[in-house]
C-alpha cells in the first residue's frame, strides 16, 4: 500500500500546485466534519434487503447460456516436476468438455504481482500452468470443464499425476537460518534503528526479552472464491469475480492475456467477505484460459479445500520483542525484530514491526523484519496483516514489563505515550489512545482487576482480565475517479468501481454524498462493483472509505461549478462562484445569505437539462506525508480458564476505539465486532497445519480449521471516541482492520492474569495451559 502511496507521491511532487488543497497540511478540514446529517446516523445497509431476499447476485450465481463448470486437480508435492500425466479417463468421463493441463493451456504472461506496479493485483508472480514445474503443494495441475459441477468434480478424481520430487523449502526453522531482509516492507524500510537499542537494553533497570510465535492462518470467508467468466465474440473478456481490487484485476488480466484494458470488464457488485483474501489467484486465470480453449462460459467456485490450497493466508512469524525501561517506566529501548515465512514470488512480509514504529516513545529503537523463503501457496494480506500478529508480540511484552515493574498495564502506557511519532518525528493528526483506554477501563470495570495472577477463582475456573492496544494506519489510495450524475428530479448517482464486501461501503458513501450535496439519502444511489464505471481504488488497508470520500468530494466540487454555469441571470445564484456557495436542502445556496438559494430541480429545469454530470480524481494523499495518521483502540478481555482442562472461555470483551469520526454506528459496530471475533480465532483456535515434511496443509476444511463458533464468542461491547481527524476526509478513518489488532495480546494477557502463565505461542490451545 505504501509503495503505491510513495509512487503516487513522486508523481505528485512535480504537480503539487494542481492538487486541491483541502487535505493538504494547513488546509481547511472537511466542512462536513462538524455537520450533523446523514453521516453519523445508523442508516441500515442499502444492500440489506436484496441480500436477505437472496436477490444479491454473487460471482458463482451469475447465469450464462451454455455454461460449463470447472474443477481443479491439485499437486501433491511442494516442489519438482510432473513426471506423468494421465488424463484419458477424465477426458472420456460423462459430461466432460475440456481437460486443460500445462500441455494445452494457452500461453499466458505471468501475473504482475501486487505492489510491483500500482495497478498490479496478482497474488504471486508465478506463471500459471505453463510448464511441468510444481512450486507448492496444492498448485493446480489440471482444470476440468464439464456440463455440471458434479461431472467436473468426478472427472477431476480420474486425473492421474506422478511427480519427480525436488528438495523443497518447507521447514520454517531451517529457512529462518537463511532469512533475509526484503528490499522494503510495503514501501517502508525493513529496518529502522534509532540509537543503540541493544546497548540501552543491556543497561536498562528493567528489561523484558521474549520470543513470540504465531502460526499460519487461512482465509475462510463465508463465500469461497468464485468467478463466472466468458469471452465475447469480439474478443472482449467478461469476468464476474469476487474481488477487492476490480481495476487491478482488470489491468493484470489484460497483461496476462495480452489484451487492452478496455477489452476486459470485471464485475463484482457483491463479495461474501474479503479480509484481504479476494485477490487475483490462479482460479480466475485458469477459468479464463479454459473458457478461451472451450469457447464456452466457465464458472469456477473453489471448494473449501480449494480455498486452502489455491489462496494463501496469513503467514507464520517468529518475533522478538525486547523492552528496556527506566525506573519511572519510560522506555530506554524498544526492540521488535523477527522473521516471517514468505515465497520468492510475492511481496507480503507480514509487517509485524509496524505497530512498534508508531505506538510508544522510547530512547532507542531497533525494528527489523526478515523473510524466510518457503515453498508454499503465496501468503497474503489477511485482516490487519502485520498489525494483528505484531500487536500480539508487542502488547504481550508491554504487559510482561508492566507485571515485572509492578505497574498497571494502562498506567505503563500512559508513561510511554509519545508526543510525536517516535520514528518519523511527524505530528499525529489525531491521537486519543489514552482517552480510549480511560473510557474502556471505566466501562469494563478494569479497577476490579487484581494485579496478582490467580486471584480470582470461581469453582474450577480462574478468571482474569487483560488489555492491549489496537492500532492500524490510516491509508488513502490515489488513482480513483468518481462521477456524480445529478438528475432533473434531484437525484444523485455516484459511480465508481468500488467494492462492497459486506462492510457497508455503499451505505456510508450514500450517507456521505447525501450530506455533501445536501440531499436526503433516498435521493442518492451509489453504483459500484463494475470496471465499466470510473476506476476505484482497492478495498484494502482499510482505505476505501476515505479514498472514495475524497474522490466524491473532488467530483462534487466540479459538479457545483458545472451547476453554477447553468444558472441564468435571474437565478438567486447568479454571479456566484463555487467558493461562495454550499450545498444544502436539495440545492445550492449562498454560504451566508439564506435567500440566495436555488434547488437542483429548479436549476436543471430552468436550464432545460435532464441531468448534469461531473467526474474528478481525488487529490493525492499528501496528508500522510506530513502527519502520522493512525487509528487506535484499547481491547479489554475477561477470560475464564479451567484448572481441570486448560480450556479458555472468553467471558467478556470490550473494544474502545479511536478511529476518527464514526460514519455509521450500525455498520461500524459490525466491523469492530467482526474484527474482534476474528481476533479471538487468532488468539485461541485457528491454525493452518502445514506439514513440513510435505508442505501440505492438512486441515483444509472448516471442520478441522477451527474458527470461533457462536459459543466461543461472548457479547462484545464496542465504544468509540468519535473524535474527528481534521486531516481526513469526513474526519474518518477506515475501520475494517483495527478490530482484530490487539485482541491476541488482550486474550493472552487476560490468561496470564487468570493463571499466571505466559503463553507466547498462538493459538493458545488448552494443552499449553495444562
Amino acid at each position: 500500500m505504501t509503495t503505491i502511496r510513495d509512487a503516487a507521491q513522486k508523481v505528485m511532487q512535480t504537480a503539487i500546485g494542481l492538487a486541491p488543497e483541502r487535505w493538504l497540511p494547513g488546509g481547511t478540514p472537511d466542512p462536513l466534519i462538524g455537520r450533523h446529517g446523514a453521516i453519523g446516523s445508523s442508516v441500515p445497509r442499502v444492500d440489506g434487503p436484496r441480500k436477505v431476499r437472496g436477490e444479491a447476485p454473487f460471482a458463482a450465481e451469475i447465469p450464462a447460456g451454455n455454461m460449463t463448470y470447472a474443477a481443479l486437480v491439485f499437486s501433491t508435492i511442494a516442489r519438482g516436476h510432473i513426471a506423468t500425466l494421465d488424463t484419458d479417463a477424465a477426458q472420456t468421463a460423462p459430461g466432460v468438455v475440456l481437460v486443460m493441463t500445462y500441455r494445452n493451456a494457452p500461453r499466458m504472461a505471468p501475473p504482475a504481482v501486487f505492489l510491483s506496479d500500482p495497478r498490479a493485483a496478482g497474488a504471486s508472480s508465478l506463471p500459471v500452468m505453463q510448464d511441468d514445474a510444481i512450486h507448492w503443494n496444492g498448485e493446480p495441475v489440471a482444470v476440468i470443464l464439464a456440463e455440471t459441477q458434479e461431472q467436473a468434480d468426478h472427472a477431476a478424481t480420474l486425473v492421474h499425476v506422478t511427480y519427480t520430487r525436488e528438495t523443497a523449502s518447507t521447514s520454517f526453522e531451517h529457512a529462518a537460518t537463511h532469512a533475509h531482509r526484503p528490499d522494503n516492507v510495503l514501501g517502508e524500510p525493513a529496518v529502522i534503528e534509532i540509537g543503540n537499542a541493544e546497548a540501552a537494553l543491556a543497561e536498562a533497570a528493567h528489561k523484558i526479552d521474549r520470543t513470540y510465535h504465531t502460526p499460519r492462518y487461512s482465509h475462510a470467508a463465508i463465500e469461497p472464491h468464485a468467478a463466472t467468466v466468458w469471452w465475447e465474440a469480439d474478443g472482449r473478456l467478461v469476468v464476474h469475480d469476487a474481488t477487492q481490487m476490480l481495476n487491478g484485476t482488470r489491468w493484470t488480466l489484460a497483461g496476462i492475456f495480452g489484451l487492452k484494458e478496455e477489452q476486459v470488464r470485471i464485475l463484482s457488485p457483491f463479495v461474501g467477505g474479503g479480509f484481504g483474501g479476494k485477490a487475483l489467484w490462479n482460479h480466475q486465470i485458469l477459468a479464463i484460459a479454459a473458457s478461451r480453449l472451450s469457447g464456452r462460459p466457465v464458472r469456477i467456485a473453489l471448494s473449501r479445500e480449494g480455498v486452502f490450497r489455491v489462496s494463501g493466508g496469513r503467514t507464520t512469524t517468529r518475533q522478538r520483542v525486547a523492552l528496556g525501561a527506566r525506573a519511572d517506566g519510560t522506555l530506554s529501548a524498544l526492540i521488535h525484530t523477527g522473521t516471517a515465512a514468505m515465497t520468492a514470488y510475492n511481496n507480503c512480509p507480514e509487517q509485524f514491526s509496524f505497530p512498534a514504529r508508531h505506538l510508544y516513545a522510547a530512547g532507542s529503537f531497533k525494528l527489523e523484519q526478515k523473510v524466510a523463503d518457503i515453498d508454499m501457496v503465496a501468503n497474503t494480506f489477511m485482516r490487519a496483516p502485520g498489525e494483528s500478529v505484531g500487536t500480539f508480540a508487542l502488547e504481550s511484552a508491554i504487559d510482561e514489563l508492566a507485571a515485572d515493574m509492578g505497574l498497571d498495564p494502562i498506567d505503563l502506557r500512559r508513561r510511554i505515550e509519545p508526543v510525536k511519532d517516535p520514528t518519523s518525528g511527524h505530528s499525529f493528526s489525531a491521537r486519543h489512545l489514552l482517552d480510549a483506554y480511560a473510557r474502556g477501563a471505566e466501562r469494563f470495570g478494569w479497577s476490579a482487576r487484581s494485579p496478582t495472577p490467580r486471584a480470582r477463582r470461581e469453582g474450577e475456573w480462574l478468571v482474569g482480565m487483560g488489555v492491549a492496544t489496537a492500532t492500524y494506519p490510516y491509508y488513502r489510495m490515489p488513482g480513483g475517479t468518481a462521477r456524480i450524475t445529478l438528475t432533473r428530479a434531484g437525484h444523485a448517482c455516484v459511480a465508481m468501481a468500488s467494492h462492497e464486501m459486506g462492510m457497508g461501503t455503499a451505505t456510508v458513501q450514500v450517507q456521505a454524498t447525501a450530506d455533501r450535496l445536501g440531499l436526503p439519502i433516498d435521493h442518492v444511489t451509489f453504483a459500484y462493483g463494475d470496471t465499466a464505471l470510473p476506476p476505484g481504488t482497492i478495498a484494502g488497508g482499510s482505505s476505501q472509505t476515505a479514498s472514495i470520500a475524497a474522490t466524491v468530494t473532488a467530483a462534487s466540487e466540479k459538479l457545483v461549478s458545472a451547476l453554477l454555469k447553468l444558472v441564468g441571470n435571474d437565478s438567486p445564484l447568479a454571479g456566484l462562484r463555487a467558493g461562495d456557495v454550499e450545498a444544502r436542502d436539495g440545492g445550492l445556496g449562498h454560504r451566508t445569505i439564506p435567500d440566495r438559494f436555488e434547488s437542483y430541480v429548479s436549476i436543471l429545469s430552468r436550464a432545460n437539462r435532464e441531468e448534469v454530470s461531473a467526474e474528478a480524481e481525488a487529490p493525492m494523499p499528501l496528508e500522510v506525508q506530513k502527519y502520522a495518521m493512525h487509528s487506535y483502540g484499547a481491547q479489554f478481555c475477561e477470560v475464564r480458564v479451567s484448572t481441570v482442562t486448560g480450556e479458555t472461555r472468553v467471558s467478556r470483551f470490550l473494544g474502545s476505539f479511536d478511529t476518527g469520526r464514526i460514519l455509521n454506528p450500525r455498520t461500524a459496530a459490525s466491523q469492530f465486532r467482526g474484527g474482534i471475533i476474528m481476533g479471538l480465532g487468532l488468539a485461541l483456535t485457528e491454525e493452518t497445519l502445514f506439514d513440513e515434511r510435505t508442505g501440505r496443509i492438512i486441515n483444509a476444511s472448516l471442520a478441522e480449521y477451527h474458527m470461533p463458533v457462536h459459543l466461543d464468542v461472548p457479547e462484545i461491547d464496542v465504544i468509540w471516541t468519535d473524535s474527528p481527524d481534521p486531516r481526513a476526509p469526513l474526519g474518518a478513518h477506515g475501520i475494517g482492520e483495527i478490530g482484530i489488532t490487539g485482541v491476541g495480546a488482550a486474550v493472552a494477557n487476560a490468561i496470564y492474569n487468570a493463571t499466571g502463565r505466559r503463553i507466547r505461542d498462538l493459538p493458545i490451545t488448552l494443552d499449553k495451559l495444562l
Binding site: H154, T645, T685, R693, N699, H706, L711
Partner: protein, 328 residues
C-alpha cells in the same frame, strides 16, 4: 464423488438383501458417508438407504430401551426416558456436531462413522486405512488429536463419536442382522483396535446391518454425565471425553461405576481397569485418581498428544468428583 446407484429399502429383509451386493453401503443420515464420498475416500457402487427402517424408541418393561438404528440423534437426545434414565447419553449426543447434523444423523450411522484423522481425509497422504500397507503419515506428523491407548504402528486414529462413549459406559448391546440371520454384540466389542489391519474397523460381517441399540436397565444411570473437552466450545471433536455413571452408597463407597473415554483410542474406550479400582472403594478423590492412573498406565503418547494423558486423568477425576458430589 464417484457415480453410484441408490435404493431406498422399505423393510429390513430388502435392506439386507441389497446390502449383500458387492460394493454396497448402508446409508443413514449421510452426514459422514456422503462427505467421505465427496472426497472419494468412500466409493460405494450402491447405497441402500435404511433411514426408513426401525425408527422407534421402545421402552422395555424392565426399564431398558430399544432404540431403532434409524432414529435420528436429535430424537434420542430429546426422548424423555433417555433424559431421565440415561442423561449421559443425551448429554453425549448434544455435545456432538451441530443441531442440523444431529437432525440428520442416525444412531446406526453415528456408530459407524469413521475417524477424522486429517491424513485419512487427504488422499495425498499415506494412510493404512485408505490403502492397507501404504503407511501412516500421522505417526510422525501432526498427531495432537490422535490415540494414546490401544493404537498400533499401523494406525493411531481415534473414533470420533460422542454418543458411542456414552453407549460404551451404559453397556449398550448392538442388534445386527443380515440376509442369513440376526445376532447381538456388546457395543464395546463392535469396534476393533487397529492392530495390523486398521482398515477393518468393526466386527460387522459383510452386508450386516445395525438394526437397533439396546440399553439394558441401569437404574444408577440417573446419576450419570458426559464431559467433553475440545479445542473450541462447540462443533469440534473431543480431544478427550468422559462418560460416567456412579452409584455411591450411603456410606460413601462406590457401589457401581461405569466409565468410558472418547478421543483416546480407535474405539470408544470402556475404562474397565479404572472401574475395577473404583468398585467397593471409597468415592473420594484419591481413589478416583488411582483409578485414572490405572486406566492410563499403558498410555503411549505420540509427538503432539502427550497432554491427552494428563487431560484424560484430570477429566476422569473431575467427572467422578462431580458425580460423587451430586450423590452426597
Amino acid at each position: 464423488m464417484t457415480p453410484f446407484s441408490y435404493a431406498r429399502a422399505g423393510d429390513a429383509a430388502t435392506a439386507t438383501r441389497l446390502g449383500m451386493g458387492a460394493g454396497a453401503k448402508y446409508l443413514g443420515g449421510g452426514t459422514n458417508l456422503v462427505d467421505l464420498m465427496r472426497e472419494t475416500i468412500e466409493q460405494p457402487d450402491s447405497l441402500v438407504d435404511v433411514t426408513g427402517l426401525s425408527r422407534t424408541i421402545e421402552e422395555r418393561d424392565d426399564g431398558g430401551l430399544m432404540i431403532g438404528a434409524a432414529v435420528r440423534n436429535t430424537a434420542v437426545a430429546e426422548h424423555r426416558a433417555v433424559r431421565e434414565r440415561y442423561p449421559v447419553l443425551a448429554r453425549a449426543i448434544l455435545s456432538g456436531a451441530s443441531g442440523q447434523i444431529r437432525n440428520m444423523a442416525t444412531v446406526g450411522g453415528n456408530i459407524l462413522q469413521r475417524t477424522r484423522c486429517p491424513y485419512f481425509y487427504d488422499d495425498a497422504a499415506r494412510c493404512n486405512k485408505r490403502t492397507p500397507g501404504a503407511g501412516c503419515d500421522a505417526i510422525d506428523g501432526f498427531n495432537r488429536t490422535h490415540a494414546i491407548l490401544g493404537a498400533s504402528p499401523a494406525c493411531v486414529a481415534t473414533h470420533p463419536s460422542d454418543m458411542c462413549v456414552a453407549l460404551a459406559a451404559l453397556g449398550a448391546v448392538v442388534h445386527l442382522g443380515n440376509a442369513t440371520g440376526a445376532r447381538t454384540l456388546p457395543l464395546v466389542d463392535l469396534h476393533r483396535l487397529p492392530a495390523g489391519r486398521p482398515e477393518v474397523e468393526t466386527l460387522l460381517e459383510p452386508g450386516e446391518l445395525i438394526t437397533a441399540v439396546e440399553l439394558p436397565p441401569l437404574p444408577c444411570a440417573v446419576r450419570s454425565t458426559y464431559r467433553k473437552v475440545r479445542d473450541r466450545a462447540s462443533y469440534a471433536f473431543a480431544l478427550v471425553s468422559v462418560a460416567a455413571v456412579l452409584d455411591r452408597s450411603a456410606d460413601g463407597m462406590v457401589r457401581d461405576v461405569r466409565l468410558a473415554l472418547g478421543g483416546v483410542a480407535h474405539k470408544p474406550w470402556r475404562a474397565f481397569a479404572a472401574e475395577a479400582v473404583l468398585r467397593g472403594r471409597p468415592a473420594d478423590e484419591a481413589v478416583f485418581r488411582a483409578a485414572a492412573e490405572a486406566e492410563l498406565a499403558d498410555a503411549a503418547p505420540l509427538r503432539d498428544n502427550g497432554f491427552k494423558v494428563e487431560l484424560a486423568r484430570r477429566t476422569m477425576v473431575a467427572v467422578l468428583n462431580d458425580l460423587a458430589g451430586e450423590a452426597a
